[in-house]
Every structure is written in C-alpha cells, then in structure tokens.
C-alpha cells in the first residue's frame, strides 16, 4: 500500500486520528487512550501487518512528553509513524506495546529511564542505564550542574 | 643403593663403542654410589644420595618449568604471526625468569571468607603430585631416580593426584567461577583417566611389563609405535588426546576456560601461588609427554632403521638424553600445536568425546592389539 491507501486504511480503523503525510513516512498522531488498540490492530490486521517496530523514541515536546513509534511491515514494506503525547509531565503514563513487539521491552525501558514516561503493563519497567538517583536527562528542563558545563 | 637398572645394563666391554659407555649413566651412578660407600656408612650414603638427587631433580624441575613456559610463548607467538617475548635477554630467553621474580615479589592476597587452610594446601598438592611423578621417569639409561616395577601405573596415579589440588583450589576460593572450574575439572579427569590407562594397556600388552626401564629396553629393536602396527598408532593418538585433557590444556582447558570462567580454579590465586599452578600445568605436560615418549616412542632409544648400519651408527652417536628430550619436546610441541589451533570444547562434548568415541575405540584397540600379540604379527 502506498501512503494514501495506508492513511485511508488507518482512518478506517479508528476515527479522530490526525493523519499527516510527512516528507518520508505517513505520520499518525494517536491519543494515548487509543494507542494500544491501534497498535494491536496495525500488528494483526491482515492488510497492515506492521510486524517490525524499528524505532521507538521518546521526545520531550516542551509542554508534552511523547513517544514516536516507527513501524514497518516486513511483508508489504510499508512504514507508518505513530505519535502519541501526554501533557502530564509529573506522572506521564502510556500503554506499553511490549507484548505486541518484543523489542519494545528494552526501548520502553530506555524511554522510561531517560524521559520518565511510565508504561502501563510493561513486564519489567526498571531504569536501564542510570540509577534511581538521576533525574530524567532527556527532558528539556533537566538541569545537571555537575556534569554539564554551561558556557 | 641405586635402582636395580644396573641389572639390565650390559657391562662395558671392548666391543661396545666408547660413547656407549659414556652415555650409560648407570656406570657413573654406580661409581658415585661405590665411592660414597668408601667414605661413609650406608645410612649416610643414602642420605647424601637422597640430597643430591633431590636437589638435582628440583633443579631440573624448575628449569624444565621455566623453559616450557618460554617455549610455549614462543611457539604460540610464531603460530600467531607474532614475535613473542623478545626483550629480556637474546630472543627473550630470560623472560620467564624475570616473570618468576615478578611473581615471587607479588602480593599474596588472602581472599575474604575463603577456606584458608585448603586455599594454601592446594598449591602444595599440585606441586607434590607433579614432583613425585617426575621422579619415576627414565631420562636416559641409568638416569633414573626410582625404577618401580609398576612405573607406568605409578606415574599415572600420582599425576592424577594433581586434580585434588585443582578441586581444592576451586572449592576453597569462595568464588563461583572457581567452583564451576573445579567441578568441570573433576568431571574431566574422572573421564580421561580411563583413556590414558587403556591406551597404555595397549602398549603394555606388547611390552609385557609395567616397569618403565623394561618398556624402554624392549624398544631396542624398534619403537612400539612402529612395532605395534596401527593399534599402537591409534593408542598413541588416543593417549595424546586424553593426556592433553588430563593436563587441563587447550582445547580441553575447561577448568580455566578464560572466556567463560575468567581463570577458572585459579582465579583467586595471586603471586607465587598462582605461579605454582602455572608451573604444575607445564610440568604435568612434561610428564605426560615423557610417558608418551617412553611408552610409544622408545624413551631414550635412538631411532634405528632396519639394516642401515651407517645410519644407525650415527643415530647411536646422539646421546640418549638428547633422544629422550627430543622426543618429549616433540610431543609437547604437538600438544602446544593443539592448544593454539583448536577452539575449546564444551563440557558435555568433552564427556561425549571420551565416553562415546575414545573409550569404545580404546576397548576395541586393546582387543586388536591382544590379537596381534597372540598371533605374533608384531615385529
């Protein structure tokens, strides 16, 4: 499927999605409540078969915290980018997709470690790189007076 | 009071070339024995002889250990396209001595919660085991500290005692790697002891004796590896494999598998205690190579070819000690070659190799050899 068909197909799965044709990939913005449902459908629907989550990145958008999922189908070779964001910076919580794509297990731990986004139903949500005394360094408001030299 | 190898040696007569007399160490030792008797009582003679022999063997032990470490480093370096040690002395020959001094002056770290007594006992056991084994090896005609009538069995038994040291070292270190290494080592020795025994049995059938001097003497007209046709050769190969395994050398160095268990049973040993394990490993290698040389390759017997009188004459000219050392080092070189070529086996494969391949082959081999001897087909 090309981008347009794919966009229509995703629209048919769920309404009120913000679908944008990016420069490279089709970008779909999903509200956090619908994320897990949509992800599962994208993985399992015969026409989509997005079986390869090739990138999962947490992004601090300033006001919101978000996660970007790059999905690819190894069968049809089409790509879609799912984006979801939560405005709760204190206790951000999203659904885990670790049971849909096993690679998300580690990637979500990384996002939790560096951005502090908690993932519901994650099998083993611990910090990955840093120990518990650290803040969340990839957030834009992270301040570290000792290790970062401001010029 | 020296071993009764004297009985086996022919008395020097005019028909024997002069070098044969010189190369026969029994006359020398006999002379020393006799002259000592002239000066002191038999008791003190024994004590003096013991001292001389003890010190000589100790020196030999240390020199062989140091030389083998150097040789190993050079051999592996050349196989790996490297130069190896080349700084201390010409071609780095004093490198191991320098290393020895370094190890001697290094700290002996007492490990927390380790079983101190066993921890210190382990190096004693490995060294004593190898030391007692080296005593029974005939280096040349008459150059023989003890000549037991069960020589082969004795060397096998005593050298296998070293594994107790390895087990103790692993167990007492309070280290998980060491413990696993020790357990592996136990399983390994337990298995490979069999193959060593059976492959030697194959030759004992030919020789008809377990006394090492007799075995060597029986190879006067040809080494057993040639005399015994294919079974002897197979026995030699099996002996090589299983003795490599018994000395914990690669590709069977599971007890100290570097990439898995860091250093296995001697992980916690430092300084000179580690050096003892290191030394014992090389001496054990020397012992099994000596056994292989003695039992299969004719010990200090020169290489003779049928009726080539001139050739045989030249071969006789080479001293027996050189023959013995040459053969031993050939076997040691083979073992080094194995180590620096092959990847390491896994513990279950190690046991599979023993129980499913070497043992059945050995059993059949013994039967074939017995049959050959029965039929008188051997040379």
């Amino acid at each position: 499927m090309d981008k347009i068909q794919l966009g229509e197909f995703i629209k048919s799965l769920a309404s009120d999605l913000e679908i944008k044709e990016g420069k490279q990939y089709l970008e779909v913005t999903v509200p956090p409540s619908m994320l897990y449902q949509l992800a599962r459908q994208l993985r399992e629907k015969e026409e989509a078969q997005f079986d390869f989550l090739f990138c999962l990145s947490g992004v601090d958008y300033g006001s919101d915290l978000g996660v970007v999922y790059h999905l690819r189908s190894t069968i049809y070779d089409h790509v879609v980018v799912l984006k979801t964001r939560t405005s709760d910076r204190e206790h951000p919580q999203l659904d885990s997709v670790a049971d849909i794509w096993l690679t998300a297990n580690f990637h979500e731990r990384e996002v939790f470690d560096l951005l502090g986004i908690k993932f519901k139903n994650h099998p083993d949500l611990r910090r990955l790189f840093l120990d518990n005394s650290w803040g969340f360094p990839l957030r834009k408001d992270y301040v570290d007076d000792i290790n970062i030299v401001y010029k | 009071m020296l071993p009764d190898i004297v009985a086996l040696t022919t008395s020097p007569s005019l028909s024997v070339p002069w070098w044969k007399v010189v190369y026969d160490f029994s006359s020398l030792t006999e002379w020393i024995d006799a002259s000592l008797h002239n000066y002191m009582s038999p008791f003190w003679t024994t004590i003096t002889e013991m001292l001389i022999i003890g010190v000589l063997i100790l020196l030999f032990y240390a020199v062989i250990g140091l030389f083998l470490v150097y040789a190993e480093r050079k051999v592996c370096a050349f196989m790996q396209n490297r130069l190896g040690p080349n700084r201390v002395g010409p071609f780095g020959i004093f490198q191991t001595i320098a290393d020895l001094f370094k190890l001697l002056f290094k700290e002996l770290i007492p490990i927390k919660n380790a079983d101190g007594f066993l921890f210190n006992l382990a190096p004693f056991i490995v060294i004593i085991a190898s030391f007692m084994a080296i005593a029974a090896i005939p280096f040349a005609k008459g150059l023989h500290a003890i000549d037991l009538n069960i020589g082969v069995l004795y060397v096998m038994a005593v050298s296998a005692m070293g594994v107790i040291g390895v087990l103790l070292a692993g167990w007492s270190s309070n280290n998980k790697y060491s413990l696993i290494g020790a357990m592996r080592s136990g399983a390994q020795i337990v298995s490979y002891e069999l193959s060593v025994g059976l492959s030697i049995i194959t030759i004992i059938i030919l020789a008809g004796s377990m006394q090492l001097s007799v075995i060597v003497e029986a190879q006067r007209d040809g080494w057993f590896i040639f005399k015994g046709h294919i079974p002897a050769f197979i026995a030699f190969i099996v002996f090589l494999i299983s003795s490599t395994a018994e000395t914990n050398r690669g590709p069977f160095d599971l007890a100290e598998a570097e990439s898995e268990l860091t250093a296995g049973y001697h992980t916690e040993y430092s300084g000179i205690k580690f050096a003892f394990f290191f030394l014992a490993e090389y001496i054990n290698m020397f012992i099994v190579a000596s056994i292989a040389a003695t039992v299969f390759l004719g010990g200090w017997m020169p290489f003779h070819v049928g009726h080539w009188v001139g050739f045989n004459y030249i071969m006789d000219f080479i001293p027996p000690f050189i023959w013995y050392i040459g053969k031993t080092f050939f076997v040691i070189f083979l073992m080094m070659w194995f180590k620096w070529t092959f990847p390491r086996l896994r513990i279950d494969q190690l046991l599979t190799l023993e129980w499913k391949y070497l043992l059945p082959i050995n059993l059949v081999n013994v039967l074939i050899m017995a049959f050959i001897v029965l039929m008188g087909w051997h040379f």
């Binding site: 096993l102 690679t103 990384e110 | 490297r82 998980k176 990439s259 898995e260 390491r344 896994r346």
Partner: protein
Amino acid sequence: MEEKEIITTPDEEQEYVINMGPQHPSTHGVLRLLVSLKGEKVKSIQPHVGYIHSGIEKMCESITYPQIIHLTDRMDYISAHINNEAVCLNVEKALEIDIPDRIKVIRTIMSELTRLQSHQLWWACFGMDLGGLTCFFYGLRDREKILDIFEETCGGRMIVSYNCPGGLMYDIHPNFQKRVKDFIKYFRKILPEYDQLLTGNVIFHERSRGIGKLTKEDAISFGVTGPTGRASGFSCDVRKHEPYSAYDRVQFKEILHTEGDTFARYIARIDEMWESMNIIEQLIDNIPEGPFAVKMKPVIKLPEGEYYQRVETARGELGVYIISDGNKNPYRVKFRSPNFSNLSVLNHIASGFKIADLVAIGGSLDLIIPDIDR
C-alpha cells in the same frame, strides 16, 4: 578463622547467580550479565547496561550538525564510518542536496571496508570466545591492513570522522585505490584460511550448530537486524531495501540463512565478507571524477520537521531520527542502534543452554556496548 556456614538447600530453591561482566574476558566492553544458573545450565540472563552511558543523544541537542559526526564515531566504534554516513545522509536528505557520484562511491567503498574490518574483528573475538586464541591474532593482523588504509586517507584508524554533511572531509589519498586492490587480493587468499581454521573445524561445528536458535518471527519481533537477523531468515538489509549512497548501482547478494543458530550467524558474516569484497571490487576501479564535497553554508540549519535515515552498519540497521525546529542544533536526535535490539534477544535465545554456549551466543550477536549505552 570463624566457622562458615555452608548452605545446602536444593538448587531449585536457591538461585546460583553469577555475574558475567563488567570485567569479564568474554563480554566485549562493559556489559554486565546477571546469569542464573542451574548447574552449568543458564536459567535466565538479565543484561545490565549503562556502565558507559555517555548521553550522546543529550549532547547532540546542544551541538551543531557537523559536530554530531564525531559523537557518532564513538557509538559503534567498530563501524564508525557507517555511523557518520547515517547522520550525513540524513542531513543531506533534509537539505535536499544532490550528492555527486564520487562522494557516493567513496562512501560506499569506505562503508564496505568498515564492514569488512568489523567482521574481521568479530571473527577474531568470536574465535577467542570459543577458546581458539589464534583466531584473534589472525583477525587483527588482517584488520590492521584495512586500518592502515583508513589511516592514510582519513587520518584516524578506528575513529575516522571522514564524512561531513555534504561530502567528505578530504579527498581520498592517491594510494587509496592501489592499497584497497592489494588488500582485496590479499584477503581473498586469507579468507579460506579462516574457514580452514574455524569454519570447517569439527569442534567449532559442535559448539555452534543448533545453539541459540532464533526464529524469524522472534527476530522480527525483537527487531534483530544485521547479519544476526539475516541468519534467521529476516530479510533486513537496508542496502537492498532502501539503497543509499551507491548501493543501487552495485550487484550483491543479500545473505540469508534460515537456521538462525550460532553457526548460521557465523556463516552469514563470513559470507558478508565475501560480498563486501565483491562490492568494493565493482566500485574501486571506477570512482568518478568530481569534487569530494559539496559547498555547504557555514552554519547548517535543517528545515523544521522530522527526518529518519536508516543505514546498514556491520551489526544491523542504524536509524538516525532527527527532529529539527529550524535551529542550527537539532531539537532531538535518536539513534536507533542495532546492538540495543540485538542485546534484548539474548535472554530469549540463550536461556536453557550452558555457560559456554552463552559465551558463544553472546559472541555471535556481535555486541558493541557503547552503541547500546550511547
């Protein structure tokens, strides 16, 4: 000496936990594996990473695009050149710059040389993991020859920093073509020796066949890419699926195996070495003339938007995800590193095997720890 208590509870109740790493000969780099054992058998593995977490993604947010390049060198330092290329390609794609053929071809040759030396190093270390120490020296001996080529052209041996947005830092050295050709000639003779030493070896076969099986479905789900994924039959070669640089003009096979065990991963890499040599040979004689870099503005600013570029490093798919807000610094950079996903599969494929197998499997995954930690 005080009396020590020796606890003798059955092993089902008590875990025998052993730490492999961070200071362990077989975990290349500072990876810590917490291994629960039952006898010699591995029950489960918990990887602990982060010992050399350097915050490259955070650092990237405060430096300019040309400066990012030198940081990517330090992620997967064995295939540094390909990492550089990923960032450069992404920046060039965002700026919509046409890259002359010369640059593309040189980049491709350098990438393949990088892949070759990476696989040589891997072969060396894998052989050492399995206890064949000689492999290590042969592998490194041949790798030095490629590093010499790098050093002559780029000035660095491992950390090349040869790419920059818009082209290359310098033109290739006049000796480059001759040296590469000499090397290919030399290595075509040496590679069969590798086979004799390790590939055909019966001990090696026993150690690697059927060990650490990874099915295709699991490989895709775990995001295992590179030779590791392709050994499981997962066609994931970015060079084929999304050709970049000059990969669309060369003929090469995507190495696919279906067994998915350690031996397949081994063979996949050995085959890739042959393929890399083929690719280099196709390109080395006809490097087009032209400039070695496109004139760029002194300050590179990416238009607002999101850019994603995938490249095939020696270990798998490296993705560079740049979010730009129009400034000279990126807003967010995410490196999708291949080793990160490859590591996550370790527990899945290695549990149930023995410690020695764990070492073999870990070696066959070819993990580079700075790439995981970033």
